[in-house]
Amino acid sequence: MRDRHLGFVAAAATLLAAAPLSTIFERWTWLIQCAVAVALVAGAATLARSLRAPLWAQLLGMVATLTLVLTLMFSSGEELLAIIPMPGTFAHFGQLMNFAVDDMRSYGVPVPDRVGLQFLTVLGVGSVAILVDLLTVALRRPALAGLPMLAIYSVPVAVYTDSVHPLPFVIGAVGFLWLLVADNVDRVRRFGRRFTGDGRDVDVWEPSPLAAAGRRLAVVGVALAVLLPLAVPGMTSGLLANFGAGGSGPGGNGRGTGGRVDLFANLSGELKQTDDREMVKVTTNDDRPQYIRFGVADELTNDGFRSGRRAASSPLKDGLPPFQDPGAGVNTGRFRATLEVTEDFDMGLLPIYATPVAIENFKGTWFYDPNQQVVFASRSSARKQKYTVEYIRASYTASALRQADPVPQQDPMVEQYTAMPRNQQVQERVDELVQGKSTPYERVRAIYDFFSVKNGFSYSLQTEGGTGGNAIVDFLTNRRGFCQQYAAAMAWMVRAAGIPARVAFGFSSGSNRRDGDSFTLTNKNLHAWTEVYFGPRFGWVPFDATPAASVAGSIRSDYAPDVDATPEVEPSTSTSAGPAPNVPGGTVGPQDDTNDSADLGAGVGSTTPTTPRWPWFTIGAVILLLALLAVPALRRSLLRRQRQSAGGGAPAAAAGAGGGPGDGPRIVVTDVAAAGRAREDAHAAWAELLDTMVDYRVPIDLTETPRATADRLVRGGLVDGSSAEAARLLGRAEERARYARDPLQAGRLGEGLRAVRKALASRANRRTRLAARLLPPSVLLRWRQAIVESSIRTVLTSGRMRDGLLRWSPRRLLTRPSR
């Protein structure tokens, strides 16, 4: 019976541990399937055990059950009697696995009900159930069962870029702890009868005291596990994220980094959506904002372009590399934009303007790739971020580009960005186009101009995706496509002409419905274009070959004008406000000028490497810590001041002298009020003396009378001379205040206290003195006692409440089981 109970707990704990999966799925179908599978597996295990089957038979039974369940749930139609799997079934399973892999690639979390993923989930949870059952019931090692449970939990942790909600973790942890408690209570049951604290047998309706203790520990442990990371600043976003990024950062897992989504697939998918979804809200002081970029595909293989290996990257929080002024021919202006990403843009890539010089207010751990000019993260998402980008807008003149020399063939940039598979047809087309063109710009322009309506190119989203060699040839033949094909084809052809090129992804400047300085970009504004490398002076220059009329917010410039516009208007219709092509670079329009200076003036602080904030946090934390540490000392000095002002108060009205025998001359106070004051003074002085003793590590004996304490101080040589007299006086004053009819009005208790404290301090070692000053043990002791007392009260109260509630427990009605 006990095994059956434990088996049930194991199955339930497995399901609880699967709770974190709820964050991955949109719906709860998986849970129903998993519950059925786990229940059947547990049932099979119980059956096998009740037949006293050996361990291997139990395992076999469970595996078989899981297989049957999977067959039933994900049937291929070829089964015998719908549940007996046939070879076709397993082929189907393999296919489902492939689906799952595909789904994982193409879907973001939370995923809808996909049969492949469901299959994988049921298979995984079922396997975990088998393992947990085996470890817990058969091998009696429930602690080890936490490992497979942890495996389930690690799935959402791996999938989600930022932190996972703590609730599923709590549920999973509760399941695991339940398992542990059940196992241990079971062990004790086997050992013998259980007793309550007062020696009775534990009744069946009562919670086991042992389990209660376990529960209490478990609650505290789980609460700590959840709350502690929340309390430690930066632990969730700092430590773990840094650790994770350190592994997959520079030279890590390369192309996957920050681009789990295939950029091309993503682009075409979004553009083909029917509904408009807002993705980025931009507020900028740039009057002619260029394209926003977030990704680059710079590696060309037979399958097409894809994001290449990142050669270098640096943490974004360390700042960006400084911008080098390219000199004549390139006009630069410095602008600032605030980008607000909605929840619909969920990528490990940050949309930014080209040539950023500073990015602020981002959350999470991000890295900057200076080659691609892309900000990426492996564990953070751009989702719901709001950040500020300061960037340099470069505008090139055709005349300046025309003078650009070809980049030497040995340049690593050329080697890297002209690498491509050979394609005879494309090569022939390019050779034909660039024939007779000498400078790189003329060659690029020849290719760029080729994508014109005149040559039969038109815009269409209804095309096959892909940027591979065949797709490019198809496109050049059919001449129908959208930005993806245009950008890839042009990049391919420019490379074929021996000039470095790559494909950039981002947003066009939108439908230009500007609301003041801000405008919104939707999924329809996603765009791709070509970037061509013109040497270190110019860097990567964007060319958008897609027909301008078909792209909302398409931007042309005089070096790459709209090829479909009439030739006469070419120079003047260019949206660029920059200088005319024949004017040598360097002159800047007045508008730009004012913009520049204003921005530079405002942005001086931010162009210098932004000072990191952690020193302030550290200083604040240290100050806070010091303040907290100073509280006991403050409390102590406050107490002392209060008591000394009491002890050294003005002498009360005293009358009559020489009362009883002995003790020398003294003043007996007759005034009732004054007597009360004198008593309080004596008590205050005595309490202060005791505290001082505690502070200087002189033991306090609760069985000692004031006289005995004072005598001990004198006898032990702790005080001598005048301080000994003072100690005796304090003792006498206190004992008279406590036990005599009339208190002693000594008047100089405050001075006596000071003398005694000085004497005690001179006897103590340095450490004790320091502790007495900084962290007075008397105050700490009192606080500790207060805590202990209050916790005892709490325990007692809760115990009484529990006893009261137990009276209503329905388990009382259960009869005592026969043992």
């Binding site: 009559g656 009362g659 009883g660 025998p661 002995g662 003790d663 007759t670 009732v672 009020a673 007597a675 009360g676 004051r677 008593r679 309080e680 008590h683 609760l702 069985t703 000692e704 009378t705 006289r707 005995a708 004992e735 008279r736 205040a737 406590r738 036990y739 005599a740 009819r741 009339d742």
Partner: protein, 350 residues
């Protein structure tokens, strides 16, 4: 116990007078017993607390001498009983004899009719005789043949016994022991005192030359003064705590009686007065705990096997029992500083 009224005792003495009178008695006794000031003062304190004293020690340390010296120092009626196995109760209490002249029974008072009764070697008498003392010690009266005779004040029994030699002795019954306020041990004198003793006692017994320095009426007034000594509520609480602790101590089969609480406080008053205080301190209780309580309690068999003496057990309890917490101080102490009508004020204290 019936206590004499104020009128019978006489008015209390002032501090100086008290001191002079008590110091005189102590100094007088010390002429005979050298270097035992504390013991002598304790004996006097028992007298002033209207109690009885049991001196228990090995032979030859001056038990009887202390009793005699005390009796001689006070000019009052002193009777001495040598407890022997053949002593009869009537020897102690008195007996009615037939007077042939008056043809009537006439009461002949026994040895107990005195201010100070010195009972030597009390455990050598039979229990029958020992119990003759019970009524007189507690109730200060003797009932013979249906007639009750009051005893005088002060009345004090000073008994001695030898704890080592048990042959031919009858240990005091518990009821009897409980009637003794305090049990003290003489202890050996220190070498200096013993040397001085050789000089003084070498030629003649100084006790013969001892002259009374006080009388019964002075002692009565001393007793009246002792009754005036103030006992704070905290001290009373401490006394109760001490006695309760003996009843709860795991080492003890029998704890101290309520009578012992009373006698503890009474003796503490006397000790405080002898020290020149008009209030009792917990220190007094601590000093008196062993002499007042140790002879009344019975240790368990385990404690006896572990050779824990009753003295050690009581001392241990005193050492471990905390003083009453300050929060439990008397309301007198806790009254607001401004003072209100609730404050109790004794007009006699001036």
């Amino acid at each position: 116990m019936t206590q004499p009224s104020w009128d019978q005792l006489g008015g209390p003495l002032s501090g100086t007078e008290f001191r002079a009178a008590s110091d005189a008695i102590v100094a007088n006794i010390e002429q005979v017993i050298e270097g035992k000031t504390a013991t002598v003062r304790l004996a006097l304190a028992v007298l002033l607390a209207e109690g009885h004293l049991l001196i228990e020690d090995v032979p030859g340390v001056g038990k009887t001498k202390l009793a005699k010296a005390m009796a001689r120092s006070i000019d009052c009626s002193v009777r001495r009983i040598q407890f022997t196995p053949d002593l009869l109760p009537s020897d102690v209490t008195g007996v009615s004899v037939y007077n042939q002249e008056t043809h009537d029974f006439e009461f002949k008072p026994g040895a107990v009719f005195a201010n100070l009764v010195v009972g030597d070697e009390i455990n050598r008498a039979s229990p029958k005789t020992q119990s003759a003392l019970l009524e007189s010690m507690e109730e200060r009266q003797v009932t013979v043949d249906g007639t009750t005779y009051e005893l005088q004040t002060p009345f004090m029994v000073i008994a001695t016994q030898n704890p080592i030699e048990m042959e031919g002795t009858y240990p005091l019954p518990e009821a009897q022991r409980d009637r003794f306020t305090a049990r003290i041990a003489m202890g050996y004198p220190d070498p200096g005192a013993e040397l001085a003793m050789l000089d003084v006692h070498g030629t003649s017994d100084p006790i013969v030359a001892l002259k009374p320095v006080s009388d019964a009426s002075t002692v009565r007034r001393l007793i009246a003064t002792v009754r005036e000594v103030h006992v704070a509520d905290a001290v009373k609480q401490y006394a109760v705590n001490l006695v309760t602790a003996t009843r709860e101590a795991p080492d003890l089969r029998l704890g101290a009686s309520p009578r012992s609480t009373l006698q503890l406080l009474r003796t503490a008053r006397a000790v405080a007065a002898l020290e020149g205080r008009d209030y009792v301190l917990p220190d007094d209780l601590q000093t008196l705990a062993v002499p007042v309580m140790a002879h009344r309690i019975i240790p368990t068999a385990d404690a006896q096997l572990a050779r824990r003496t009753t003295d050690a057990i009581i001392a241990d309890i005193v050492h471990r029992l905390p003083l009453p917490h300050e929060r439990q101080r008397s309301p007198y102490d806790n009254r607001p500083p401004a003072g209100d009508g609730r404050a109790q004020y004794d007009p006699r204290r001036g």
